[in-house]
Symmetry: C2
Subunit: 243 residues, 2 copies
Amino acid sequence: MSTEQPGYHIEPIAFVRSPYREKFGIPRQPQLAPDVEAIIELAAPYDRGEALTGLEQSSHIWLQFIFHHTADKAWKPTVRPPRLGGNRRLGVFATRATHRPNALGLSVVKLLEVITSPSPALRISGCDLLDGTPIVDIKPYIPYVDRVEEAHNLIASEAPALIEVALSERAKEDCARFEQNRGIALAKLLRQILAQDPKPAYQPFNESRIYGMKLFDQNVTWRYRQNNQQWQLWVVAISPLEA
Amino acid sequence: MSTEQPGYHIEPIAFVRSPYREKFGIPRQPQLAPDVEAIIELAAPYDRGEALTGLEQSSHIWLQFIFHHTADKAWKPTVRPPRLGGNRRLGVFATRATHRPNALGLSVVKLLEVITSPSPALRISGCDLLDGTPIVDIKPYIPYVDRVEEAHNLIASEAPALIEVALSERAKEDCARFEQNRGIALAKLLRQILAQDPKPAYQPFNESRIYGMKLFDQNVTWRYRQNNQQWQLWVVAISPLEA
């Protein structure tokens, strides 16, 4: 950039506390796993409760955030969205891909609760953000402005197809134990999250390969198998991450 | 911020060329004046046409931008939105006010044309952005994600009420001359823009006060008057700005 256009310094105003501990496995858009809850904790010097006054009147909010795991990567003019099978190039500005000139993200999430004490925070659901994501702005969703009735998008016209998710007996027991200890409906969350099929679309199904994702402080493992000639995502087990 | 959270440097990837030459008079949300066109010109080193490949398949786009006229101002935890008469305080994160910790804005606009030569640019309409606004990201509008059918917002549940706009004979002649010279339907644009009533809601109607806004390279002047016991915005004249 020339010295006339030096750019801007922006700071996190909040951080996300979410069950997603790694990028792999996160649904590719918000609200695809509607029951996944997260907390947005305001950060100093922006942790002023009055900055949230009135926000409880919005059912949904916009989060502008930093893709912090890729923020220092070089941008490329084109990307290969996984949704399109990874073999078609699109301009980065025609996608919501993470590798952007400015690593800015945008998500709309449901606002469940405005928390004022002991410190200001928001409880949200439908979150698609990695734990620790820096939030750089929070804005109310304004239906008459943001809900564009006549909008269309020929590249992503509807939500991605879902894959059937089934749990092994072992996985059901693991979930039951987690749910009893933590009060979180893990089996239900797993069905929502994994139905998006985290596997890259261009990768062939391979029954012997084991996949894993970190969720909360657990490692979730699965493989693919056929059921009535349909591919199914078969959750093998949920086990605590090594400390 | 602590050294652990140093913040982020972001750069303009494009600049807006719009008819709006000052903040006063711009509709407070995008699309309220749907015929106002603008051009988004990609800026070096991001002026790579392939970065826009596929964007023509989106009818609408998100612009993430910098409120550059207020970017260096101190933030305040609460603001008084003009929409609420200027006498009610809301948390800054419960509004889309310009004075934010990070001066980031968000607008959805209609994409009319992806321009590839002589240099990459987008032609848009429904623009609510000041001429020269730095754009820091462009993203496709994805209806199944962004159009949240069940969303509500009790603070801004519907578009603001409109005021009747009428043009003096002089203003009609000025518009006709501008339209003939420039091929832009100025009278129609003025009716859309001014129907939002740029006057602060808390300011009483005063028939003798003359208001003005800069639009294109013109100064538009108006006053308020009563017509059938309703207040009306009466456009007095449109005259070229001093060079």
